[in-house]
Amino acid sequence: MIDIEEAAAVDSAEGAGIGRGRLVLRRFLRRRLAVGGLVVLVLLFALAFLGPYISRWDYRSHDFDAFLQPPSWSHWFGTSQIGEDVYAQTLRGLQKSLIIGLLTALFSTGIAAVVGACAGYFGGWADRVLMWFVDLLLVLPGFLIIAILSPTFRGRTWLLFVLLLAGFSWMITARVVRGLSLSLREREFVQAARFMGVPPAVIIARHLLPNMSSLLIIDATINVGGAILAETGLSYFGFGVQPPDVSLGTLIADGTHSALTFPWLFLFAGGLLILTVLAVSVVGDGLRDAFDPNAAAPRGQA
């Protein structure tokens, strides 16, 4: 769909005739660091979901012949106190963290888009009520509230945990989306749609949200990293992913008790965690630059 803003963006790009998407893609590919981040991310996904198949050990199995063994040929990342294979456990944790990060980002940006766009488009009372609600959630310490609620999702599905994480991380973006909607609402193409009798939900979905897609994509990328960090943090205290399942956070929490003597128990999980979040934020940064029409091009090109 080509709206006025997108058309303008295409016009301003010196190569007339290329679509916005291809322009963004080209500018993104020129950022070597960001592309590197994307490659790392793909590799991490491959490792998390294919890696378990090349190991003899399952994350639930115990090797009673090897307690607290350092990394070796039979146990690549070593074993834990009770003979669990750290490699299998770390990959399982990586899987959980990646999925939780992605889902939370998706939900959180989704809520922010809908609430922000509604507040901005409808204005008046709807705006005041929604923004007041945003303020309330900002004052409520989300981390503490999820921790308080943790007994209720003990033994339930971790999807509940994802919803809670998302529920406490959308507020600031919603404010930004509201601001954008306020100005978009006055634009000609939105006014025209309104006078033609297009229902508000359709206007929001077809005209408002696509016009801030760059912001939403970037926000979602940043949220992936944030959600992974939040999940590991909560799991570190035992408020997140519950045993027998593992996440990078629970692994690091278990490992740090003996960090000084058996470093392999948490170094692999910690390293993969840092690598994941680092890759995500580098990609996010590259996307931001690629989408930004005012960004100074690195070598004098669009």
Binding site: V139, F143, L144, I148, I172, L229, L273
Partner: protein, 326 residues
């Protein structure tokens, strides 16, 4: 100006009150202090448990609204109820608040100042080696959870101590218990205990602020008013400090405010790992102990922190941006 701040204060106060009430109802509904008694061996008679719970205002057979009313009545007199061990929450809270605030204030002020400095330098010397180095470092720190930073700091302190054969850096508690000696000696001991926990907070804060400050500064660098100031005879450095920095600091006020509230959760990791008995550590322990009154007290503390930070940021806005005159 005063009226504007007063209105903000009123708004924030209502929000804090609501947040606390919500916290109370959530904690009252999900935490089960009864479980602390039921698992005992030999088993306690139900009547005894009820009497205990009633005394602590934690009985889940009383409607939560009624419990909340009694708790609220106490709060108006400065009494935040009792812990599951029967101690006064207020007494414990005043002590722990001091511990947390010392850590948070020092960490956030130092982190903020360093972050702003690094961000400004990065923007002014964009695409130089120093810019790349600080950018890479801040990305690395931002990708590392606080608890990992804390544990790694602890590890390196241990290595340093072993290498030098002396206890240069301490990493447990706020001070060495039972230490005797002169004032200087005790002060040094405190400082030695303070370095690592503060560092774990400062690193994250500085990395966070340097990113935003660099962006804000870059936006300002190309602006007309800087060129005008230079054209009127100011040297670049003077123009940057007098006009550039001031403008670039404005958006930081908001970040600083929202961040201060989040800091408490970061501090929970630091306190827990370095053995400081502050509010964060208390909260984490209390959730597992089903200690409703403590959990609510910490929630209130966190909300008040956000409130104070919000007011400060409004104030900073008004001071920095001459257009705000409401």
């Amino acid at each position: 100006m005063a009226r504007f701040l007063l209105r903000r204060l009123l708004n924030y106060t209502v929000l804090v009150a609501l947040a606390t009430a919500l916290g109370y109802f959530l904690a009252g509904a999900t935490l089960h202090p009864r479980a602390n008694y039921e698992g005992r061996n030999p088993p306690l008679p139900a009547a005894v448990i009820d009497k205990q719970l009633d005394e602590l205002n934690l009985n889940d057979h009383t409607p939560v609204v009624q419990r909340f009313g009694r708790w609220l009545g106490g709060v108006t007199h400065g009494d935040f109820g009792k812990t599951v061990a029967g101690d006064s929450v207020t007494t414990e809270m005043t002590r722990r608040m001091g511990v947390s605030l010392r850590l948070l204030l020092l960490g956030s002020v130092l982190g903020g100042v360093i972050g702003v400095g690094v961000g400004v330098l990065g923007a002014v010397r964009q695409y130089r080696l120093s810019d790349y180095a600080t950018t890479a470092l801040s990305f690395l720190i931002l990708s590392t959870p606080v608890f990992l930073v804390a544990v790694l700091l602890k590890l390196s302190a241990l290595n340093l101590n072993q290498l030098t054969g002396a206890q240069l850096l301490d990493y447990t508690g706020e001070y060495t218990p039972g230490l005797t000696g002169g004032t200087l000696h005790i002060l040094l001991d405190r400082v030695s205990h303070l370095i690592l926990p503060t560092l774990s907070i400062v690193l994250g804060q500085a990395a966070f602020f340097s990113r935003y400050q660099r962006n804000a500064m870059l936006d300002v660098l190309g602006s007309d008013f800087l060129r005008t100031a230079q054209a009127k005879g100011l040297r670049r450095r003077q123009a940057l400090i007098k006009h550039g920095l001031r403008t670039a600091l404005i958006p930081m006020a908001t970040f600083f405010a929202y961040n201060f509230g989040l800091l408490l959760t970061g501090a929970a990791f630091t306190e827990k790992i370095f053995g400081w008995h502050g509010m964060g550590e208390w909260f984490v322990d209390s959730v597992s102990n089903n200690d409703v009154n403590v959990v609510v007290a910490v929630t209130l503390f966190a909300a008040v922190l956000v409130l104070i930070a919000g007011l400060l940021s409004d104030l900073a806005y008004a001071v920095l941006d001459p257009r705000v005159r409401i």
